[in-house]
Each structure stands twice: as C-alpha cells, then as structure tokens.
C-alpha cells in the first residue's frame, strides 16, 4: 500500500499484458475457518465456521454445522450462538443491548466434535469521526472530475490503536481489494508511528468507490455514503494487512511479493490443528450523508 502510485504505474504499463490461464496447484488438507468479526453496533452478530477448499473450487466453503459456539464477556455474560444454516452461527441482541462495552475483554470458545478452539479479544476504543467532506475534483491522471469524499478523524494519543474503515454506497458495502482501508494509528502501518495525527490523506480518501483498476469513481448527487470506523485489535490489523497485500498483489505486476499466509488469532486447545481466520470485537463510530 505504501507503493500505491507504483502500483498505478505498474498497472498502467503492464495491465494490457494479462490474460487468464489454467494452472495446476498443489493441494493440502482442508483447514477449519472461523470468520468472527463482532461489533457493538448491530443487533445481529454472526460467526461463520467452515472448511477451506482448493483455491480454484468456485464454491462457498462448506459450513461446519455441529459446532458449539460461545462468546464470554469478562463481565460474566455468556452468549451461545445458534446455528442457522451452512455453518452460520448467530446471536440476536435485543434493542439497547450489545455484546459489551469498550474495554471489555472477550473469549470465544468453539467445540467441534471432540476438538476445542479458543480466541481472545478486547473491544478497543474507537475514534469519533470529525467530519465527512464532499469536494469537487478536476480532471487529473488517475482521477476523473466529479464529487469525491474524504473522512476526517484523529487517532488517539498512544501507539497501537488500529482501525478498519468501511464505507457503503447506497447501502452496498464497498469491498473491492482496493477499497480495504485500514489504519495503524493515523498511518498505513506500525512502522510509520503516526500517533495522535489526523488520518493521513490516502486513508481519508480510500472511502471512495474504486474501479477494478484501483482508480476512484466519483459520486452522483443523491447517492448515500456511509462510513464506519471499527476499532480492531493489532492481531486483526496484521491479518487484514496481509489479506489486503495478498489481494492487491495481483495488481503489483512485476513488483509482486511472495505469497504470504495470513496469521489468525484462533488456536486449538486439544489438537495440533491450525485454524484460519480472526476473532475480533469492534466498537464502531459512523457517519452517513447524502451527496449534494
């Protein structure tokens, strides 16, 4: 991500040289996947448990349907998630109720047949959104003229706050690889030490929709933009950082990095299994605007 413009140059020079081919891959045994990103926002909280597939199997990973899934809050509350379908486990909170508060710590326990897995997380503080600014931009290389947005928020003092900034266009979650927007303090990664700063520019800007070439797309008058900042753990940040690098790696053309595996935070307690995925509990701040 640090080489954002290098990626754009590389795409500009080499994108036309790509085509799709068939390749044969090594295979490995299926691994358990836990997709457990909870927050204090929505009433309905979901955890999905499934098993990995060979890379080119174009199916949804098959759900694990017989798991017992419990989340414990350190204040003593315990929530057992119920299986809905195809490995999706849910817990519906009542209105005015949520899984916990900032500062609470949580433990996830999963039992599948005779095997147990666990993970820990804390709901970290989340910075409030100061403003969401709409602005008109002129035609430039890599920018068409039109309305674009920026989100302003200031990182807390103290190293190590990390955030996942998610945005929606007319209710649709913007989840292209180029739209993954995470911040460590106010910068791209832990190396920059941008503590207590206003989010730096590309982070403020990555809330805009992009095309599949990474170039931002302008908003139309009447569109609704929603921006959420989720506090995440450093484990979750590291996971998303590698995930984003891997998903964008294919756009790095000749500057691709070697394939790196994401590192999750869910561990077995009575086996040698490796579990893929993350358990994270976020606090969320959000803003919504109509483009005018």
């Amino acid at each position: 991500m640090k080489n954002y413009y290098l990626i754009l140059i590389a795409i500009f020079l080499f994108a036309s040289c790509e085509d799709t081919i068939d390749v044969n891959l090594e295979e490995s045994d299926p691994q358990i996947i836990v997709d457990a990103w909870l927050d204090n926002n929505n009433q309905r909280q979901e955890i999905r448990i499934s098993k990995s597939l060979p890379y080119f199997t174009n199916e949804i990973t098959p759900g694990v349907e017989n798991a017992i899934v419990i989340v414990k809050n350190n204040n003593g509350n315990e929530y057992q998630f119920a299986h809905e379908a195809n490995g999706l486990y849910v817990y519906d909170f009542n209105e005015n109720e949520s899984i916990g508060a900032i500062g609470d710590s949580f433990e996830l326990n999963i039992a599948i047949d005779s095997k147990n897995y666990f993970a820990n997380a804390m709901m970290n503080r989340v910075t409030p959104i100061d403003s969401l600014v709409q602005e008109y931009r002129d035609d430039e290389v890599f920018t068409e003229d039109g309305i674009y947005c920026q989100v302003f928020a200031r990182d807390f003092d103290g190293l190590g706050d990390s955030y996942w900034i998610q945005s929606y266009k007319n209710g649709q979650y913007l989840n292209r690889p180029f739209e993954i927007n995470i911040a460590y303090d106010a910068g791209f990664d832990s190396g920059g030490e941008l503590d207590g700063f206003v989010f730096i520019y590309p982070i403020r800007d990555l809330i805009n929709e992009t095309g599949d070439d990474g170039i931002p797309i302008q908003w139309e008058v009447g569109d609704i933009i929603t921006v959420e900042i989720h506090s995440i753990s450093n484990d979750a940040f590291k996971f998303l950082e590698i995930m984003r690098d891997q998903l964008l790696n294919s756009y790095n053309t000749i500057f691709a990095e070697p394939l790196a595996n994401t590192v999750g935070n869910i561990y077995p307690s009575n086996s040698e299994d490796t579990v893929l995925g993350v358990f994270n509990v976020s606090a969320v701040s959000s803003v919504e605007q109509v483009i005018e």
Partner: protein
C-alpha cells in the same frame, strides 16, 4: 589509516633490480587515439608477452642490451612487427590501425585470438560494444545489460525487471562499476533500458568467478564498464534516433594527443510526442528519462595523465499535480595515472556515487507528503601494478569508502499539521587492502593468487537497536536502543578473502583452469518483490545484520579449434552463500525504523554447468550458450526451514546469437532464447473472511510451482551506408523485430477473484492471471550516424 599508507609505500620500494631493461608504453587506436585494453606486446624470440591494462599500458622486462622482434596485436586491428634494441629502459608508445578488409568483419571479442585459452582468467565475459550494437534490439535501443543476459550464467527474473542475476546471486550482489564508481541502479524505466549510453562505452567486462583480489564488495559478480576517453585526433560526432531515445555524443581533442573529451547525452521523448494529445489538465503529466555522460583527460607529462568522468541520469514520472516520482544515479570519478618507473604503474582514483529517489504527493501546502531517500558514497582507491619481470605481475593497493545512507526523509502535512516521520541516517566506512601476483610457473602453468582484507565499520551518528528473540519468521520486537555519536563505531567486521586461480595449458589450443574465491559484501538492497523497485533502499551490515559471504569454486576447460575460428568453453561451479538476507511475511520495508526486526538470515547455494561455443571469424559469426543451473536458499522461518529454489532459479537456459554479413550493405542478426520457467509460490486453498476470498498456502512450500517455458526469437538487420575515404558522414539503418512470433512469455502468474467486488454469500470465482510483459512482436527502426 596511517598503517595503510605505510604498507603501500613499503611495497612501492620493491622495484629495484639490475642488468635488466624494461620495454613499456601505451598501445592506442591510430584513428581515435583511444587506448586499447587487452592488446598484446609479444617478444617472438623469448616467447613471452605482456597485455595492456585498463589504461592501455604495457610493460615487459628483458635482459639489457638485446635486440628483439616484437609484435603488437589487437583483434580487429593490423598487427605491427618491429625490431627494437632494448638498451636500458625503453618507453615505446604505439598506435595500431583497424583492419581494412573488403567486408567489415564482425569482431566478437576485441581480444587476442587465442586469449580464451592462454589467459588465466575464467568465468569472465568481455563484450565488445560493436558486437552489442549488432544484436537485435527492443525498440531500437542498444542494450548492454540485456546483451549480458545472453551469456551463460547470467539471468533475469523477466523483461522489465531491473538488473541481472549472476550464478544464483541477487541483483544487489553485482558490483556495477562505471569508470570505477558503483552504479546503484543500472536501469531506466524499471528494467527496460540500462543507464549506459553505448556511444560512450569503450569496454564491458563481467567477472562471474575467479575474481582477482583487486575487486571486492559484492558476492556474485563485478561488471566493469569503462568509458571512452574521447577522440584525441579529431572531432567525432555519433548519434542516433530511435523510438525511445535520441542520442548524441561529441568527442574531440582539446590539445591534440594531450587532452580530449567526450560528452554524450540521451533523452526519451514519449512525453514530448504525447503532449499535444493530453488535455490541459494533464499538461504537467509525463514520463521521461535521460542520461548525460562526460569524460575528459589530460596528459600533463609522459608519466602522468588525469581523467575526469561523470554520469548523471534520471527517470521522471509526473501525474499532474497529484504525484511525482523520480529517481536517478550520479557519479563522478577523478583518476590520476602515474608511472613511478618503467615497471611500476600507479593509479589513484577518487570517486563519488549517489542514488536517490523522490516521491511527492500533492502540492497543497496544507496536505502533502514529500519523501526521499539516498545512498551516497565517496571513495579513495590507490592501485599499483608492478611488472616485476615477465613471469610476475604484482598488483597491490587499497580502498576506503565512506557511506552515508539516508533510508527515508519523509514529511507529511495533514490539514496543516506537519509530521516528520523520516528515519535517521546511517553511516559506515568500508576499507580494503589487497595484493595479488600473476605468475608464470612454467610454460604450461600460470597462477594468480591474492588476498584481500576487508573491513567494515558501521558507525554513528545514529541509533542502534537490540531486538528480542522471536519465533522464526515472526517480527522481532525492540528490546533496547542506544545512541551513538558521529563516527563512533557501532559494529565492526573484518574478513580475509583469499583468491586463487590456476591455468594449465594442455596444448597449444586448449587449457584447463580452476579458481576459488571468497567474497564479502557489507551493504545490501532491501527488496522482497519479484523485480526490485526504484524505491528499494540500501542498508549496511550492522549489529543486527551480518555481512554476506560467499565461497565459489569453478573448474573449466577451454579449447580453440580450426585456427581460432571456433572457441569453446565449459565450466562448472559451486557457490555457497552465507548470511543471505530474507524477509518475514508482510515485512514493512519502507520508512520502518525497526526494519532489522523484519529481516531473516539464511544461506544459499548455487551450482551449475555453463557451455559456450563461439565462432569468431568469417561472414557468419556468433555464439551458442547453454546453462544448467540450480540456485537454492534456506532460511529458518520460510518453507518450514527446508531448502527451496530461489525466485530466479532457471534450470535450463539456452541462447543462440548469430550474425551474418550478407553483402557490403546488409548484415543480419538473430537471437534465440529458451529458458526454463522460474518458480513461484502458488496457493493451495482458499478461505473466506468477511466476504473476501483469501489465498492460502497450506503446504507452506515457497516457490512450489514453475511458470511455463520462456522462449523468444528476435531478428535484426542493418543497412550500412557507404564508407569512402574522405567521406565525413556515415549513417546506418537498424531494423529489429523483438519477440518475432509474439510469444506470451509469462513473467509471473497471479491469483485473484474474478469479480473483484464480492457480494455476500455467493460463490466467488477465482482465476489465474498470466502476466506477459511483452506479449506481442515489437518492430522498430532506428538510424545511427557518425561524423568525423
């Protein structure tokens, strides 16, 4: 430092002998006055000879007062045979003229015909610029580094990648020297074109093994590029117009036979051509690259000559007001040749070299980001060559290099708030002393043995960190740090690097050679991408990074057939590399003060067989080369700690280069390259997280699959103008087709979701994408001219 010079001056005192006379002088090109490197002076009666050095100087010592027949020779030039009475010492400078043959023959190497067999050097390749100019080109540009890649043992990860890999070494393990100054990034436009202007280059030599002790500092190879001095007889203008560059060089005497200069410039003009088609808003956008090469020399006595050379090159990308990006090298070299005596040739070099890049985002004073990084070094390098007697040539000298690393100066302004998140500079001093002797033991056996002692001092001012132990492959956290003053030593290393080479002359046309060398490398390029990027930084060995070391053994058989019409060589080598640098997954390599905590230490090995068959004479010339090689690495924390093939491991590599003189007007050329696919890391499985489909490598095997075979055919034709005596203008048209049959050679294969926006619980299709940097045939035309 004091001991260093005492040592050197003590060695100078050697040259005291009696009852002998020394014939010495310079060998030059009669037409331009350029000194000839590697020309020979051969005494027929004694069967001994001498070869001119990098400055054209030769020296040969015989019994006093005799008369001898001496032949001065250089391939492609008319030999001169003279009878000389060598009484006392005789200074004899000589000029040789180019052969005036009916058909202009192509000279593959400008060397004495059987030098391949009789010389002690092995694993070296010398490419003549006139040969390089005959090869088919990409977009009409004569390319020195791409030409090297046609030699056995020299590879690249693919088109567009900068640099080159020699016998399993990474690109930063090549010491690329331009008139002795190191060039830290040898490419324009990533890796498509090299920074060397062919009109200003005189000699290109690559050492892959058997590196003499006068060179050091890198593990894999030395690429020694020497610039022309400039015609000191008359004005000469060379130039060319191609698709990418226009070039112009001017060389002329300042004082005839005493001082001359050459100035050469190239500039790309895609931006100039594109300008009328850009909208007003984009007038500030563009892409260009240029380089400027300058050299001058002055002979202020028969014993003293100075040379001043300079290079400046830059690549610029500008995206309107939004972002700008530029990088480039600059170098300067000042040299002083001095003859202490007929037998003792000395050269003192001072150089400066710098590589830097700048990135700017936005020009709004309230919101901008400026970032630059740099490596600067200064060096002083005295060298002495003592022509003790015809059987011993002793070279000794030393070098000191002062480095300043600026790994990143970065200032961000966000909504008017200024934040400096630059990194502190790093400093180091690298020094070396060496001595070597090239000795004829007998008519059949010749050896070159030497020792290099190198020393590295990583100093302040700066901050040195101590890191905690971590699970292999994971980031190490900082335990403590310490501040050091300017030039206060943080960590020192020193190494003895023995070098040895031997030649056994089997018969008049064949020889066996063997060599061993140890090399130490104290600075490295931090890069974990397939092709190195221009923003990669150099970092010194430190309290956390050990110097890289290598041991290489090579064995070769050299044979010339049919009166030197054919030249055959075969070599095997084995190389072991220690303290190689690797990276944890998702390492932060840029603007990270704790970078060293993201580095891993590993080892490497490379071995292979290289065959080369050349045809040097006749209308049809060329070479055929084949390499069978393996390059592997082992790093705890990668590939479960097992050996794995490196990203540029290429099992088979076959090249064919042919030149054919059709008639007086036309000459043809072609290049065929066939290379095994490089290995790449593929995922085994996929998993989902918040709607994203993530590739996962369940086996953790690094570089587990190979991309398909690479093969390519290029052709070229040159239409030559008429050369007539008295005619001042000479022009030629060069036509080329690169990748004639439009092969889509894969640079790499990637994986990604087919629809890059995934929606909820629907199955996301994933696909493999082949990147072919050049997937079509590329025709080109260029015009070259010469005026003198």
């Amino acid at each position: 430092m004091r001991h260093y010079f005492t040592f050197l001056f003590a060695l100078i005192g050697f040259s005291m002998f009696g009852q002998e006379a020394t014939l010495n002088g310079y060998i030059r090109d009669a037409n331009s006055g350029e000194t000839l490197i590697g020309a020979t002076a051969y005494i027929t009666e004694l069967g001994i000879g001498a070869t001119s050095n990098e400055y054209g100087f030769y020296s040969i010592t015989v019994a006093n007062g005799s008369s001898y027949t001496i032949e001065f020779a250089y391939l492609g030039f008319q030999s001169k045979v003279l009878n000389l009475d060598i009484i006392d010492d005789l200074r004899f400078d000589i000029e040789l003229s180019e052969e005036a043959t009916e058909l202009e023959e192509i000279v593959i190497t400008a060397e004495t015909e059987d030098k391949n067999v009789t010389n002690i050097e092995m694993s070296t390749n010398k490419l003549d610029v006139s040969t390089i100019k005959k090869m088919p080109t990409l977009l009409g540009e004569v390319e020195i580094i791409r030409s090297l890649q046609l030699l056995p043992g020299v590879t690249t990860v693919g088109e567009g990648a900068s640099g080159f890999n020699v016998r399993g070494g990474s690109i930063d393990q090549n010491l690329v020297l331009l008139d002795e100054a190191p060039v830290f990034n040898s490419s324009h436009l990533f890796g498509f074109f090299s920074v060397f202007n062919p009109d200003a280059v005189k000699d290109v030599k690559l050492y892959k093994a058997g590196v003499p002790s006068r060179y050091g500092g890198r593990l894999a190879s030395i690429l020694d590029v020497r610039m022309k001095e400039g015609n000191n007889k008359k004005l000469e203008v060379n130039g060319g117009i191609g698709f990418i560059f226009s070039r112009l060089s001017i060389e002329a005497p300042i004082v005839k036979d005493k001082a001359s200069f050459i100035i050469a410039a190239r500039r790309s003009y895609i931006d100039v051509l594109a300008k009328p088609f850009l909208s007003d808003d984009n007038q500030n956008s563009g892409l260009n690259f240029y380089d400027l090469t300058f050299k001058t020399n002055y002979k202020f006595s028969e014993k003293d000559r100075i040379f001043l050379s300079a290079y400046l090159g830059r690549d610029n990308f500008q995206f309107g007001e939004q972002a700008g990006f530029n990088w480039g090298n600059s170098t300067g070299t000042l040299r002083w040749n001095h003859l202490f005596s007929e037998k003792l040739f000395a050269n003192l070099t001072f150089y400066y070299s710098d590589y830097d890049y700048q990135i700017k985002f936005f020009s709004d004073p309230q919101n901008k980001f400026d970032w630059n990084a740099r490596i600067v070094n200064y060096s002083l390098k005295p060298e002495f060559t003592l022509y003790l007697n015809p059987r011993n040539i002793i070279r000794y000298g030393g070098q000191s290099i002062v480095y300043k690393f600026e790994p990143g100066n970065a200032i961000g302004i966000s909504e008017g708030e200024v934040r400096n998140f630059g990194l502190t500079n790093k400093y180091a001093i690298e020094s070396a002393l060496y001595v070597e002797n090239e000795q004829d033991i007998s008519d059949k056996i010749k050896i070159n043995y030497g020792l290099r002692w190198s020393h590295f001092n990583y100093t302040g001012k700066g901050e040195a960190f101590t890191f905690a132990e971590a699970t292999p492959g994971q980031r190490r956290e900082v335990l403590s740090s310490q501040i050091y003053d300017q030039w206060e030593s943080i960590q020192t290393y020193s190494n003895f690097e023995p070098r040895f080479a031997i030649k056994y002359q089997v018969d008049a046309t064949s020889s066996l050679k063997a060599s061993y060398n140890r090399m130490a490398q104290y600075i490295q390029l931090v890069s974990n991408t397939t092709a190195s990027t221009p923003v990669d930084i150099w970092t010194p060995a430190s309290n956390n990074i050990k110097p890289q070391m290598s041991d290489q053994y090579a064995l070769g058989y050299f044979n010339n057939l049919k009166d030197n019409h054919y030249e055959f060589s075969s070599e095997v080598y084995y190389k072991k590399m220690y303290n190689s640098v690797d990276y944890i997954d998702a390492a932060d390599l840029i603007l990270n003060p704790y970078l060293e905590g993201d580095l891993l230490e590993g080892q490497g090995r490379a071995y292979g067989l290289e065959l080369l068959m050349k045809k040097n004479k006749g209308d049809f010339t060329g070479w055929f080369s084949y390499t069978l090689a393996r390059t592997e690495r082992q790093t705890i924390g990668i590939n479960k700690g097992n050996w794995y093939p490196s990203r540029f491991d290429q099992t088979h590599k076959l090249t064919f280069n042919g030149f054919y003189e059709l008639n007086e007007k036309w000459s043809l050329s072609s290049t065929l390259t066939v290379i095994s696919g490089t290995p790449i890391t593929f995922p085994t499985s996929r998993f989902e997280q918040q709607g994203y489909v993530i590739p996962h490598n369940g086996s953790e095997n690094r570089n587990n699959v190979r991309v398909p075979l690479y093969h390519r055919l290029d052709i070229g034709a040159t239409l030559k103008g008429k050369k007539r005596p008295g005619k001042k203008w000479y022009g030629e048209w060069v036509f080329s087709v690169y990748n004639l049959y439009s092969r889509k050679n894969p640079f790499a294969i990637y994986f990604r979701p087919e629809e890059s926006r995934s929606a909820g619980m629907t199955a996301v299709k994933t696909e493999a994408i082949r990147l072919s940097v050049i997937g079509n045939f590329i025709p080109s035309v260029s015009y070259n001219f010469k005026f003198n």
